[in-house]
Symmetry: none
Subunit: 179 residues, 4 copies
DNA sequence: AATGAATGAGGCTTCATTCAT
DNA sequence: GATGAATGAAGCCTCATTCAT
């Protein structure tokens, strides 16, 4: 799965040949089919593994009783820790358009995570801390900004110093907060 | 090219077959090779066409002498107008990872546009209007947020009413501005 | 299709590789897929072509108003002429068990031909010329005997001289007729 | 071997995978290779087992001193008993074209059985009871008719009641006997 | 003896590209 | 210019066979 991840990140699902993955993993192509019924099953397994991992981390770290500003900081840092610990997984999950081969179960994981984010936004809006607009919009603006930042980092266009990280986190809070 | 665009959006470069494009365009596969030397030449031509179109629009609309807040609004609205006028082109250019098949010339267009954005950020920073951090970071946060919003719209998770548009624009300004 | 026929006769459907057929036909494997959607489509097309050809011949030659003994002789000779004119086609259609890959349409042709044979037997039974037992049994005994004879001929265990042919025809009539 | 027989009947030699046979037998694929050197060795062992079984039965039941009409009846009934007791074995041996993978020893069993049949026909011809034509032809007509009948039964197109059986036996005798 | 993971050659099929018309 | 049949390399996947356990 590690080899498959690297290949999919580099060349995408359709651009990656099963023998390429096998070569990278130093196994025979046929062996892959002992563990995954098809190339699609493999990509779905990969996607689920890493999306679930984010979800698990987010849920584990989330401070239920902390104020929204603190919740935001924790989640933001958790996402960042994840993206830095598993850059290829992050790139795979976020920088590719998977719509043509992911199955319903894989998409469901994504949806659940988004629902969690929206619920968090709604609670903070009820406290008057966030802008009173579509909660989906606010969540997508922040996720989008985060992804943009990480992609720029991945492409070596910005370096993630503590100052940059802290400024980015504050900037994203400013995106959604009332003033 | 219209047919190719649709196919590439739906299934990506490697997932799209030349005969598929030909079928969608109701021409013969061979005909495509009168106009493009190869599949790669076609995807590069497409990418250049639509990235140049953004660049052209941005440069044409950019109010050199207006204050930064106004410049920001104009560019943001111009990008939005573009994304709504050519949603498939926008999705193609922004939601796919093209790194494995774009050539140097195509990448240069992208880089020029980003340089323009960075220069604009730097000028506004000099006026003390924007946060004094990495200008690349600020630009990527805004572009990322914009992309996140448009993708959510494309996936029908938010509707772009005038209120949403206006709130999103203000939120993105808040991302980068000092307070 | 001629090449495919030879290959299928020699090694059966599953024992024949598409590249083998292509090599025998002196074309590229891919070319086969311009004319047939799959290997199964090819074998079905072949089966239909040759089963229809028998059906066509039988219907064309059948003497509606002649007495049953004469009808029998005509059909028997027509089948023989067919089997000698197209020995590979006959072997393909009769000596292989096609049940795992023929589709409904192909099977229908076979069924229609058998129904025709049964109807003929029933009419002759009503005249008291044939044994008063299951008409399907009588038809299968004659078809089976015919196939046995042709297979022995195909395997060069008997030679089909005019005397042999005539004796075989009479023997098959004796199989079904009352005495 | 029972599992292999079922698989070979259903999909033929080339259409059957060793893992399929193993799955049906509820053993591991590797285990098959403790008992048979290869897939070909397995199919040859199966063919020999069941062809020998027919031969054994025929020789055991054959009434050396009875008149030909009685000998015929005994053999016909013995074949029928065999075909009904082991329908899959019968279908495997008779409805598939084995020429591409049977070895010399397997083919020899078949030839010996046929020689026995021919010798019996010749003796009856010398008594003037059978038609004075190629004995191979007569034997093949009867075997062919028998196979046709059994295949129709296998495909549930005729039911083998005592009346049908008796009529079929008499019809086959009529095929070969003088009148 | 039995297992079943691993192998890699080979099978079916697709598809970028060519070229005669 | 346009066509689409033809090509054959390459992709996904299967499967006969091996071998360490």
């Amino acid at each position: 799965m590690e080899a498959a991840l690297q290949c999919f990140v580099d060349r995408g699902f359709h651009g990656t040949a099963i023998p390429e993955i096998a070569a990278r993993a130093k196994i025979a192509s046929g062996t892959i089919y002992h563990y995954f019924a098809s190339k699609e099953a493999l990509v779905n397994a990969l996607y689920r593994k890493w999306k679930s991992e984010v979800a698990r981390r987010v849920l584990a770290a989330f401070p239920q009783t902390a104020p929204p500003r603190e919740q935001f900081r924790v989640l933001w840092n958790e996402m960042l820790a994840y993206a830095k610990a598993h850059p290829a997984a992050f790139a795979f999950v976020e920088y590719h358009n998977h719509s043509s081969y992911l199955d319903a179960e894989s998409l469901a994981i994504d949806r659940n995570l988004k629902d969690f984010g929206v619920a968090m936004v709604v609670r903070a809006q009820q406290e008057g801390l966030l802008k009173p607009v579509s909660p989906v919009l606010l969540m997508e603006l922040v996720f989008g900004a985060f992804n943009g930042m990480m992609r720029a980092h991945w492409e070596r266009r910005i370096e993630m110093t503590p100052e940059v990280i802290s400024a980015a986190e504050q900037a994203c809070w400013d995106t959604v907060s009332t003033h």
